[in-house]
C-alpha cells in the first residue's frame, strides 16, 4: 500500500502535475553568480522578540549584560513561541519597541546588541552521530535551538514535528518556485550534506517511513550537488516541473501523492510532513553542531543593486546594512520587497532587521516594478480560474467580496486560497485580487473573534444576572423569616391567637423600661469591662 504512494525512484517516468499555476520569469541568475557570502558583523543587531504570529518571547537578559554568540536571550512563550538567541557576542544596549519587517509596519519588542567584534561562541557540545539520541530528545533540541520554518511561514519546527500521527512521507521542500528567491538553491548547491543530514534527523523524529527531497527541474546545479550527497542513504531525490507555486506545501503534496490535503486539515492528517530545505540545514546545525538558529541565508537582489548575492546573514542585521553590502543605488530604488515578487510585501522602513523568515530582499527599480496599472472591470475571461492552483474560482470570490458578502465567499472556499497571486498575475484587468482576498479573510477572522467574545460576554452577563437574582431572593427570604419571628421574643407570645392591643402596649412598655434600666447601669465597672476589656484594666 505505502509503496504505491510514490513512484519507486526519481528516474521513473511519472509526470508530476497540479492544476493551475503560472510560469513567471524566474529572475534568479544574477544572485546565483556568486557563492554564499558570510556578512561582516554590523555594529548593532536588533533581535525581534516576535518571530512568528505566536506570542512574543520573554527576555531573560538585562540592559548592560554581556552576552556570547548563541546565548539564550529570550524564552519561548506559549506553544507557538520560539526562543531567541544572541547572533553575535556583545553588550545588550536596549530592550524597546522597534520596527519589524511586516506588511503593516508594526513595532515589536526588540533586543539591541552592540557587537564587540570578537564573535565569541558560547561553549558548544557538538556530537558526531545523531542516532545516539532518541527522537523526543532530538525534537527537544530543535525546539530549544529556536528552529522555525525558514521557507517563509516561520512555523516552529519543534511544534510541527510533535504530532503523534503516523507519518508515511517526509518531504524536504527545495522547490523554491517563486521568482527572485535563490537562498535554498544556493544552499543546496553549496552544502547539500547538511540538508541530507537534517532530513535524516527529521525523519528520525517523525518516524516517517520514507523521505524525499524535492527540487524544481530547472535547478540543475542543485540537483547534481544533492544527487552526489545522497548516494549512500535511503533518501530519494525528486525533480518536479518548474511551475509556480510548486513549492507551496499543499500543491507539492498534491503533485507528489495525488492526494489533496482536505480543507481545514493539516498535511499530517493524511500522513505527510514537509520541511523547507533551509530548515533541514538549520536542524543539522542545531543537533550536530549544537548551534541555535542565529543566521539564515537571505537572497539580496533587484535592479537597484550592483552585485546581488546570497548572504549568510545574522538574524537581527538591519536590512539597509545588507543592501549597502551589495552596492545599493538609493536613487534608483523605488520599492523594497521582502519575500518573492509574487507573495512578498513592500517594506517602508529600511531600518527593520532580518528575522527568521526573511528569505529574500528585492531592491526594485522603477523599471522593474512599475506602478500598478489602474484596476478595470472584470471581463469574466476565466483566466484566473485556469491559473488557480487551489481549484477555486477567483472571479466568483471577487464578486462576493465586492458586494460585501464575505460569508458567501467563504462558502466558495475563500479560506482555501493560499494567496499565491497567480490569479492577479494573469488578470487582464489588473485587479489586485489577492488584496481583496486578504482583506476579506481578515474581516472574517475579525468577525469570528467578535462572535467568540460576545458569546463569552453573554455567558458572563447571564451568570451575573442569575447570581444577583438568587442573592435578592435569599435576602427577601431571610427578611420574611426575621419579620415572622423577631429575635429574643417568645414564639408562643407572638402567635396570632394571643395577639391583642393591650398585650402589645404592655410589651412595648416593658421594653422601654428595660432600656432605661440598662442606661442607668452603664457607668458601672462591670459593664465597661465586659464591653471593652482592654480599657477596663488599671
Amino acid at each position: 500500500m505505502k509503496h504505491s504512494f510514490f513512484p519507486a525512484t526519481s528516474s521513473s517516468k511519472k509526470s508530476y502535475y497540479f492544476t493551475g499555476g503560472i510560469k513567471p520569469p524566474a529572475n534568479k541568475k544574477r544572485s546565483l553568480r556568486s557563492v554564499i557570502m558570510d556578512t561582516p558583523i554590523p555594529e548593532f543587531l536588533y533581535l525581534s522578540l516576535k518571530q512568528y504570529s505566536g506570542p512574543d518571547a520573554i527576555p531573560v537578559v538585562c540592559v548592560g549584560d554581556k552576552v556570547l554568540k548563541g546565548q539564550l536571550l529570550a524564552n519561548a512563550e506559549g506553544e507557538l513561541g520560539v526562543p531567541i538567541h544572541a547572533s553575535t557576542s556583545g553588550t545588550i544596549r536596549e530592550i524597546t519597541n522597534r520596527i519589524i519587517p511586516d506588511e503593516f509596519g508594526h513595532e515589536a519588542g526588540s533586543i539591541c546588541i552592540e557587537a564587540d567584534g570578537q564573535d565569541t561562541w558560547i561553549t558548544r557540545q557538538p556530537i558526531t552521530d545523531f542516532k545516539s539520541l532518541g527522537p523526543e530528545l532530538l525534537r527537544e533540541k530543535i525546539q530549544l535551538a529556536g528552529i522555525c520554518g525558514l521557507g517563509g511561514a516561520g512555523f516552529p519546527t519543534g511544534k510541527k514535528f510533535s504530532s503523534n500521527k503516523p507519518i508515511d512521507w517526509l518531504i524536504i521542500n527545495g522547490a523554491e518556485c517563486e521568482p527572485y528567491i535563490t537562498c535554498d538553491q544556493a544552499l543546496i548547491r553549496e552544502n547539500p550534506e547538511t540538508i541530507v543530514s537534517g532530513a535524516r534527523i527529521l525523519q528520525r523524529i517523525c518516524r516517517a517511513l520514507h523521505c524525499v527531497i524535492v527540487i524544481e527541474q530547472d535547478k540543475q546545479d542543485a540537483i547534481d550537488a544533492l544527487g552526489t550527497a545522497i548516494h549512500d542513504c535511503e533518501i530519494e531525490l525528486i525533480s518536479v516541473p518548474a511551475k509556480y507555486p510548486s513549492g507551496s506545501e499543499r500543491q507539492l503534496i498534491q503533485m507528489l501523492t495525488n492526494q489533496e490535503v482536505p480543507s481545514g486539515k493539516l498535511p499530517q492528517d493524511i500522513g505527510v510532513l514537509t520541511a523547507n530545505a533551509g530548515t533541514a540545514s538549520a536542524v543539522h546545525n542545531a543537533v550536530i553542531n549544537n548551534e541555535p538558529l542565529i543566521s539564515r541565508i537571505t537572497t539580496v537582489c533587484g535592479d537597484a543593486l550592483k552585485t546581488p548575492k546570497n548572504f549568510r546573514a545574522l538574524i537581527g542585521t538591519p536590512v539597509s546594512f545588507l543592501l549597502e553590502l551589495c552596492g545599493i543605488d538609493y536613487t534608483s530604488l523605488s520599492r523594497l520587497i521582502v519575500g518573492g515578487s509574487l507573495r512578498g510585501f513592500t517594506l517602508k522602513n529600511l531600518d527593520a532587521p532580518i528575522i527568521n523568515t526573511t528569505n529574500c530582499l528585492i531592491a526594485g527599480s522603477l523599471r522593474e516594478f512599475p506602478p500598478a496599472p489602474a484596476e478595470l472591470a472584470c471581463i469574466r475571461c476565466g483566466s484566473c480560474t485556469d491559473a488557480c492552483p487551489a481549484g477555486l474560482m477567483p472571479q466568483l470570490l471577487y464578486d462576493q467580496i465586492r458586494s460585501n458578502e464575505s460569508a458567501k465567499a467563504k462558502q466558495y472556499g475563500l479560506n482555501d486560497c493560499i494567496e499565491c497571486g497567480a490569479c492577479a498575475y494573469v488578470c487582464p484587468s489588473h485587479i489586485p485580487l489577492v488584496q481583496y482576498y486578504r482583506a476579506a479573510k481578515s474581516d472574517l477572522a475579525a468577525q469570528k473573534l467578535r462572535q467568540r467574545l460576545s458569546a463569552k460576554w453573554q455567558q458572563r452577563f447571564e451568570v451575573r444576572q442569575t447570581r444577583i437574582r438568587l442573592n435578592e431572593k435569599r435576602k427577601k427570604g431571610s427578611r420574611r423569616r426575621s419579620l415572622s419571628r423577631p429575635e429574643g421574643m417568645d414564639v408562643t407570645d407572638t402567635s396570632l391567637e394571643n395577639f391583642s392591643r393591650e398585650n402589645a402596649k404592655q410589651q412595648i412598655a416593658d421594653a422601654v423600661a428595660r432600656v432605661k434600666a440598662r442606661k442607668n447601669r452603664t457607668p458601672t465597672n462591670t459593664q465597661v469591662k465586659t464591653k471593652n476589656p482592654g480599657e477596663g484594666k488599671p
Binding site: 506588511e103 503593516f104 509596519g105 508594526h106 513595532e107 484596476e375 472591470a377 467580496i401 465586492r402 489586485p432 488584496q435 481583496y436 486578504r438 482583506a439 476579506a440 479573510k441 481578515s442 474581516d443 477572522a445 475579525a446 468577525q447 467578535r450 467574545l453 460576545s454 458569546a455 463569552k456 460576554w457 453573554q458 458572563r460 452577563f461 447571564e462 451568570v463 451575573r464 444576572q465
Partner: protein, 200 residues
C-alpha cells in the same frame, strides 16, 4: 346518485387529503423553528440577542443586550447599538427583514474598541466599579485594590461614572497602525464601474 354521494367511502379521499395538508403544515412549522443544543426551540429574542455585540454597555437605553433584544422583537428600532455598528445593524436587518438604517445619532457615534484600566495606586477599594461591571471583569474586595481583567472587559465604560476618585482610564485596543489587510480603496468607489456609455 344521491345515495352514492352520502356514501361513507367518500370520506376516505377527503380525510387523506386533510391528513396530508396537516402533516405538511406541521413539517413546515417544525422546520421554521430553530433548535438549540439542548433540543429546545430558540426564540426570536435569542436570535436577535446573538446578533448584538454583548458589551452590555446600555448605550441603547436598555439595561443590557438581552433587554434590548426583547425590545427589538416588540418593535424597537434596530439602529441603537453603537458598539455593534454597521455590521450589527446589517445583520439585524437581514434577520428581521427590515431596512438597514444608519446608526441613531442620539446613541453616540461609532467608536473604536476599548478596554478600561484602573490606576491601581489611586484606587481606594470602594467596590463601586465592581458592582457596576456587567460581566464581572473587575477583581477586588472592600478596602483592597481593584484590578480589571483585561481579557474579560467589554469596554462598556459603566464603571467610570461610579468611581469616586476617577482612577479608571479608557485604553483603545487598536494602535495607530492597521492590524489587518484593507481592501483596495476602490471598494468604496462604485463610480469606477460606470462605463463611458453609461455616464450621465
Amino acid at each position: 346518485m344521491t345515495a352514492l354521494a352520502f356514501s361513507p367511502w367518500f370520506l376516505i379521499p377527503i380525510s387523506l387529503t386533510l391528513f396530508m395538508v396537516l402533516s405538511y403544515a406541521l413539517l413546515l412549522l417544525a422546520r421554521n423553528l430553530n433548535w438549540n443544543a439542548n433540543n429546545q426551540p430558540v426564540s426570536l429574542v435569542d436570535l436577535v440577542n446573538q446578533k448584538l455585540p454583548q458589551t452590555q454597555c446600555g448605550q441603547c437605553g436598555f439595561s443590557g443586550c438581552r433587554p434590548y433584544a426583547e425590545a427589538i422583537v416588540k418593535g424597537e428600532a434596530i439602529n441603537k447599538c453603537p458598539p455593534g455598528g454597521k455590521f450589527t445593524i446589517n445583520s439585524l436587518a437581514k434577520l428581521l427583514n427590515k431596512a438597514a438604517i444608519e446608526l441613531d445619532p442620539a446613541q453616540g457615534g461609532y467608536t473604536v474598541p476599548t478596554v478600561v484600566e484602573i490606576r491601581e495606586e489611586e484606587c481606594i477599594g470602594c467596590t463601586k466599579c465592581i458592582q457596576a461591571c456587567p460581566v464581572d471583569a473587575i477583581l477586588g474586595a472592600a478596602k483592597l485594590m481593584h484590578s480589571v481583567i483585561r481579557n474579560e472587559c467589554t469596554g462598556c465604560d459603566l464603571c467610570i461614572d461610579p468611581c469616586p476618585v476617577d482612577c479608571i482610564d479608557v485604553i483603545p485596543l487598536n494602535s495607530s497602525t492597521p492590524l489587518r489587510w484593507q481592501a483596495p480603496a476602490i471598494i468604496s468607489n462604485p463610480d469606477h464601474f460606470i462605463r463611458p456609455g453609461n455616464m450621465t
